[in-house]
């Protein structure tokens, strides 16, 4: 089906884009159009105005210093996937990017679009929850920062105001020194093209990778498509922290995940199955992250 008629605007700067979003009624940002086009073609969305942000080169950056890693909203999945900076600093991020659809979708889809649509099955929302990312939002009135855990409110519903753009996200590096940290992103998908039935982001930091029994200093795990929001499972994390990794701790972490999730049933995945996936993939993500930390 054709999308309903709308007006198209193509600002060339962030300031201009924010003015348009402030002035135009019922305006929607347009980034990679890999999600919005589907909604509009099916008339599930019919905004009066589209504000195309693809020319805003200022939102297209990947930068890392000692403190944090910053990624602009207009960075494409393809660029995340191939970024050497991200592979060194936060390997979970490129791994998650590579598991989004096929390469042609990844040529267009963006970080900001994925965060902006607020799909609890999304890869980056899950990464953002696991890594304690801060989302940066801007409007004509100014800018603000929102922690990922507060940004995602419910399915397709976020803390973003209609006149705001996500400009990027910032992830603190202090918890993830590459030499002592392992990370992973695992997705359970029926086919490469489909959204995941469930995904798990994991990160583990140990005290000394060369030790006989490295102690887990900190563990992170977040699940996608397991609740209304990307779900950080803090109880599972604390099962691991402060001791060397044991099967008992992993099993306990898996059990907390089984209990913590609140999954929506799907055609091929009922609630029990999704809980079982949550248990199993919490364990796998933490094991893989740990193995990479000590490797």
């Amino acid at each position: 089906m054709k999308p309903a008629p709308f007006e198209y605007h193509r600002p060339s700067s962030l300031a201009e884009a924010l003015e348009l979003l402030a002035d135009l009624p019922d305006a929607e940002p347009l980034a990679g159009n890999q999600s919005l086009s589907i909604l509009m073609s099916n008339r599930l969305a019919s905004p009066d105005h589209l504000v195309d942000i693809n020319d805003l080169a200022e939102l297209s950056y990947v930068a890392a210093d000692g403190q944090s890693v910053e990624v602009g909203a207009l960075v494409r999945h393809r660029e995340v996937e191939r970024s050497g900076t991200l592979a060194d600093a936060l390997p979970l991020f490129p791994e998650a990017a590579g598991k989004i659809a096929g390469p042609v979708v990844r040529n267009r889809g963006t970080v900001g679009g994925s965060l902006g649509e607020g799909d609890p099955a999304g890869n980056y929302p899950c990464v953002a929850a696991a890594l304690d990312a801060d989302l940066e939002l801007a409007s004509a009135d100014g800018s603000r920062t929102v922690p990922a855990e507060d940004f995602f409110i419910a399915t397709m519903f976020t803390d973003r105001e209609e006149d705001e753009l996500i400009t990027g996200l910032a992830i603190p590096r202090e918890p993830f020194p590459p030499a002592r940290t392992g990370q992973t992103f695992l997705a359970v998908k029926e086919a490469a093209q489909t959204w995941p039935t469930l995904s798990a982001a994991g990160a583990v930091r140990v005290d000394d990778p060369a030790a006989d029994e490295p102690v887990v200093e900190e563990a992170r795990v977040a699940l996608a498509n397991a609740a209304e929001v990307p779900l950080r499972v803090r109880e599972a994390e604390s099962e691991l922290a402060g001791e060397p990794l044991t099967d008992a701790a992993l099993a306990a972490a898996g059990e907390t995940a089984y209990e913590a999730v609140d999954p929506e049933e799907e055609l091929h995945a009922d609630e029990t199955y999704k809980r079982e996936l949550a248990r199993e993939y919490t364990k796998r993500a933490l094991t893989t992250a740990h193995d990479r930390a000590v490797a």
């Binding site: 008629p5 159009n33 890999q34 390469p103 042609v104 490469a192």
Partner: protein, 166 residues
């Protein structure tokens, strides 16, 4: 603002046209300009039948507005051959029986050419990953993978060198 005068350079030919804001690139190419190579399968970024190159990169043309492509170079499957000579990917699909009904073929070839542009000597697993976003209901994919492998060999392990892409 609901209508726009745009310029597209399709397979090297500069063309001016007027489109609605909501006109998808694939419809502008097919219905306005007569390039029926890109097919419409799903209109949802799933099947890949509509894949073309925009400024050298593979894009599903059902997810790009025509007005967004204003000023770009677009290559459709019709632009792959050079002076009547098939592009190696076209030869390879023919030799390896990489198609049956042919509906997916233009998209498969455009995706494969973009992939071979920056993969010199890909393995079969890499080829399969590259084609993840393109669905085929006929062939079972085996011969398509064979065709991309054969094309890579024909292109002398240097994807960018041969053929008429860009």
């Amino acid at each position: 603002m609901a209508e726009h005068d745009i310029t597209l350079t399709v397979n090297g030919n500069e063309q001016e046209l007027t489109v609605e804001s909501r006109t998808l690139l694939v419809h502008a190419l097919r219905d306005e300009l007569g390039y029926t190579g890109p097919n419409v399968g799903c209109e949802s970024s799933m099947c890949g039948a509509c894949t073309v190159h925009v400024d050298g990169k593979a894009v599903k043309s059902c997810t790009m507005l025509a007005v967004q492509a204003d000023g770009t170079d677009v290559t459709t499957v019709e632009g792959l051959d050079q002076d009547g000579e098939f592009h190696p990917i076209q030869e390879a699909f023919q030799e390896e029986h990489g198609l049956q009904c042919g509906y997916c073929t233009p998209g498969m070839m455009m995706t494969a050419v973009d992939f071979l542009d920056d993969h010199d000597d890909p393995g079969r697993e890499e080829i399969r990953e590259a084609l993840e976003g393109n669905l085929c209901r006929c062939t079972g994919y085996q011969n398509i993978v064979n065709a991309v492998e054969t094309a890579s060999n024909k292109m002398g392990g240097s994807g960018a060198a041969a053929g008429g892409d860009d």
